[in-house]
């Protein structure tokens, strides 16, 4: 029998993997993938908790909205990264540092 705890452990693991991908920052696309993993961990949490919220289905509705918003922000992110690639010819965050103190 799979209980709520299993879902929470899996989602915590996914969140940590996503956070690692963001903090390691080797490649901008990898950072976007990491962000997507973090959002999906939260969505998994929402759906798992939503099972116990039979009245309003708040968790499931939130999951649906989160999926749409994540897709929108990743689309914008990819467009902006493409724009950066045109100017810098690289998408490694460590090589992109025109702005600094």
């Amino acid at each position: 029998m799979i209980s709520l705890t299993h879902f929470l452990v899996v989602s915590a693991c996914i969140f940590c993997i996503g956070l690692y991908a963001v903090l390691a920052k080797r490649n901008t696309i990898m950072i976007l993938v990491g962000i997507e993993l973090m959002i999906n961990a939260a969505i998994l949490n929402f759906v798992a908790f939503g099972k116990y919220d039979k009245i309003n289905y708040g968790g499931q509705v939130f999951a649906l909205f989160a999926i749409v918003l994540a897709a929108a922000s990743v689309a914008v992110g990819l467009a902006l990264i493409l724009n950066v690639y045109r100017h810098f010819k690289t998408i490694n965050p460590q090589d992109i540092h025109e702005l600094k103190d």
Binding site: T28, I31, I35, N45, G59, L69, N83
Partner: protein, 492 residues
Amino acid sequence: MNVSIPHILDQIIASVPLFKPELVLIIGFIVCIFTALFFEKRWKNSTFIACMVTLAFSLYYLIDQMPNTGTGFSGMWLVDPLSTYARLVIICSTLIIAIFLQQRHSKKNNGDVYSILLAATLGMHVLSSTSNWLMAFIGIEMVSIASYILVGYFSQNKVQSEAAMKYVLFGSVCAAVMLYGLSLVYGLTGNLDFQSAMHLQGLMDAPKAIITLALLFIFVGIGFKLSFVPFHVWSPDVYQGAPTAITAFLSTIPKVGAIVLFARLYQSWTSTAFYFSELSTWFIIGVAIVTMLIGNLAALRQQDVKRMMAYSSIGHTGLLLMAVFAYQDAFSYLLFYIVAYVVMNLASFIFIDQIEQQTGSTSLLSYAGLGKKMPLLFTAFTLVAVSLIGIPPTVGFVAKLMVFTSTFSFFQSSGDTGVLVMLIVGALTSVISLFFYFKIPLYAFLRDTDQPVAVKKQISVLLCIAYTLTILVILFGIFPNWLMAYLSTSFS
């Protein structure tokens, strides 16, 4: 909640009147997309006109809605004086930003930027009139995505595209962390409305470790929009890289929505005393102190005016947090601070842009000797800077004075050392801010330059707006009662 579908439909139809200003924005957004696609090439500025008409109609319905209060859409939409006035500020400043964009970026086919501006406005309206986490998250994401596009829209060089990329990556990570925190809070409480009794009860019963983690995660998302320390690192880069019109937008309007949400959140969490409310009180005091210190100290060594304004607005975020802390019930004072902040920042960014048009630079060194060539502009700019420091007789002084007195009376009643430290830091950083704001008149009036700058005499719509805002800064500073009386009658 086993209610029949006709009942739900009736409820939705009944709550539509509360949603009129936003409906206008939605329709205007769609109209703007079409005009940008089909009419922009034949009639220039058609999208701009559509955007202005939309904003005007939205303003009309908002004023129409003024006396109303109530909730709609099964508690998701909340209309009260705080939300109405916050939306008034948002719409008025969006009007100014739209004119700013039209004056500066009308050469190419830039019609789409107005529809994105309207979408951002809609997001801010959602943020400022909800107490539901789902709506709050949608609002934050709407504002964020629209801002990413606005920063990247005009990007022609390396710096601008880099600013947009940094903004989108940092913003998406913060939103993702906040979403995870929200999912934890939802799991612990089973309710998404943060003002409901069930939500607060769930927070009280939850284990301390998880609730601390969830709180920190949620504050990551709000902190990104408000740009308080340690989530401020994006703002200097983005402010410097973005076109000045967009910087003016970023530094003012999104903060209004976010601070209103934060004030609601803080009010509902501290209304009853439990572990979570103590934690959030300590959090807000600590963050306000660090934000004021870092914002003002880092601004001291900036040579670029836009970057300096970025740090100055971080410092003002600290003061805004202090205002949220000091006025947990009296939202009218918080709104006074918001109005003062928006007026000052809009005026100073219009001045920065005017100077940039003449000299082609935003460096402080390039201001040398310009005071004699543009005396009126620099006098007005100096007045706005005086207001940003908080010296009488300006609106900045009145706003700061009210926050400090209220915090002091809070300290007298509670005797909390943290509050006293916050007060001292607030006063100290106001003195520090004197040194960097006064660099502007120092360079403009007292330093001379070798290379002559050709200054074109011109009277633009934008400058008229900026001078009007400067007059407002002085007027509200001498007669704060005009604004306060207006605000407090509707709150009582």
